[in-house]
């Protein structure tokens, strides 16, 4: 029964990883930018939710409502001001830029909030602690289920938007060939800025739910970035459904690893990631990204 429990908990944890990976996958898919500040931006979002939640004494779910558009606007401005310029410098410059941004955000948060570990769980009320008890060995926490459902809705919704709507078509066309997109009237900068706005909003969502279901601190970002990156690669680059699957595979690998021995939790996730990279599919991914 403990194995069934491990898989169920992994599935729920995978929902959170998929939510983290969503924005990373989108930005890579549309702009070929690997946003090394993704994890820190998620943590920044979590701190904003914390700030609103404690200043106005509201639940973090309510606090998300103003924070999401603020972070989306931040994403729009970030793309227009910093990332657009670094994109013109070639593929390596955005990597350096976002790395720098990661350091700035992390140290800024450290300065403002101290390195204390905190959690939004208490503010969220009973939903963060209650479980749906199936039997003595298996319980499904409400918050885990909520995050998984949210991940399916966000990633699935974005995937449908990309496939079915005029805006999604423009985004796919720009991702394939920004120069030709301009020749049919699509301003690439506008599509890029909107993609970054969406990516930062989903990162904020992920950061807030990390803060609610467990703990966070100014230095939490890079770990989340690694998990998100692994989820994107396991799921296959450029597909949001794949990213959802990749997040879940990573989550299950970690909980099964932990079930064998708690020390193996993170390691098991890394091993699955490396196995995918070493597989024929991983080689296709590597050759495709160098060909671009």
């Amino acid at each position: 029964m403990s194995w069934v429990n491990a898989v169920v908990q992994g599935l729920l944890l995978g929902g959170l990883y998929a939510l983290f990976a969503c924005g990373l996958s989108l930005m890579f898919g549309v702009m070929r930018i690997i946003n090394l500040a993704h994890g820190d931006i998620a943590v920044l979002g979590a701190f904003l939710v914390w700030e609103v939640s404690f200043t106005y004494h509201v639940s973090p779910f309510i606090a998300l409502l103003p924070v999401l558009p603020i972070m989306a606007a931040f994403g729009y401005v970030l793309q227009r001001s910093v990332l657009a310029r670094s994109l013109r410098g070639g593929p390596l410059i955005p990597l350096l830029t976002t790395f720098g941004l990661s350091i700035v955000i992390q140290n800024g948060l450290l300065q403002a909030y101290s390195p204390d570990v905190r959690s939004l769980g208490a503010k969220a009320g009973t939903i963060s602690t209650k479980s749906w008890v199936i039997n003595s060995r298996l319980a499904v926490p409400y918050i885990g289920l909520l995050v998984l459902v949210l991940a399916v809705v966000v990633l699935g919704g974005l995937q449908l938007t990309l496939r079915r709507t005029p805006f999604g078509r423009e985004m796919r066309a720009t991702a394939l060939d920004p120069d030709t997109a301009a020749l049919v009237g699509i301003p690439a900068w506008s599509v890029y800025a909107k993609a970054t706005a969406i990516a930062l909003a989903t990162a904020t969502l992920a950061g807030a739910f990390l803060a609610i279901r467990s703990t966070f601190q100014p230095s939490s970002g890079p770990t989340q970035l690694i998990f998100a990156f692994e989820a994107v690669v396991i799921g296959g680059l450029g597909s949001l459904w794949g990213t959802l699957g990749g997040g879940i595979v990573l989550g299950i690998a970690q909980t099964i690893g932990a079930n064998i021995d708690p020390r193996y939790s993170i390691l098991a996730g890394h091993l699955v990631f490396l196995a995918v990279l070493a597989s024929p599919r991983g080689r296709i991914l590597a050759s495709r990204s160098t060909a671009r």
Partner: protein, 238 residues
């Protein structure tokens, strides 16, 4: 009425001067063929006119407005459409999506997915096929259709028949001819001189980035154009 006015246009690829001081005009409803050898600067010039390549000097006026510094996507809104060399379709999108994506920001006009498919009947069974699975001729038809979806006032087609099977060239030209007859303003680049002369009102021959011959198709012989094409005339006169 003059629709496009190009004055002393220069464009370069780094140190290479691809277009060196080209001036010409295109009137409303006219069809102009640009001919010239590979590397003469035809594609660079069309891309500069479309805003996809920066002009290093000179000016481009469209409908009496200076558009020299206007970015490509805004020129599309003004009514300039380019069918780029090599078709450049969005490979993962279907034929219909390729058309729709261009039509989204278009001004209302005669061209919709339905009218494009009617003008290029070969696209009818292919609407839900991915662009990457099309043959060369089908791709060219889709690419021209995609440009038409923006309801352009000036359509520029780069290398109409390059890399196409003869039968596909016939089909593309059939649609292009009816388009020209309907009064559209077209600038096309064509390697096949006979084809170019059969549809165009005027031929402009470019050699090493400069115009060496500009004449109405009715008043010029193929021999004269061929000489200009290879630079024989220029050599003879110096």
């Amino acid at each position: 009425m003059t629709l496009l006015e190009v004055q002393d246009l220069h464009a370069r690829h780094g140190l290479l001067q691809a277009v060196r001081g080209v001036s010409f005009t295109v009137s409303q409803g006219e069809t102009v063929a640009l001919v010239g050898a590979n590397g003469a600067g035809k594609s660079t010039m069309l891309r500069t006119l479309a805003g996809a390549h920066p002009a290093s000097a000179g000016s481009v006026r469209f409908d009496d407005v200076d558009i020299t510094g206007v970015p490509a996507h805004r020129r599309v809104a003004l009514g300039i459409a380019l069918v780029p060399e090599g078709r450049k379709l969005f490979a993962d999108l279907t034929v219909e999506e390729n058309l729709l994506v261009a039509g989204r920001r278009a001004k209302p006009g005669p061209w919709t997915v339905e009218t494009v498919v009617a003008a290029f009947p070969m696209l009818k069974p292919l609407r839900n096929k991915k662009a990457s699975q099309l043959s060369g001729g089908e791709q060219q038809a889709t690419s021209i259709g995609r440009a038409l979806m923006t309801n352009p006032r000036l359509l520029m087609v780069d290398e109409v028949s390059l890399g196409l099977a003869p039968i596909a060239v016939d089909a593309v030209y059939e649609s292009l001819t009816s388009l020209i007859k309907s009064g559209s303003t077209v600038v096309l680049v064509e390697q096949d001189l006979r084809r170019a002369m059969s549809v165009a009102d005027r031929v402009i021959c470019i050699l090493e980035g400069k115009i060496v011959l500009e004449a109405a198709t009715a008043s010029v012989s193929r021999e004269l154009i061929t000489e200009a094409y290879f630079g024989l005339r220029a050599q003879g006169s110096t």
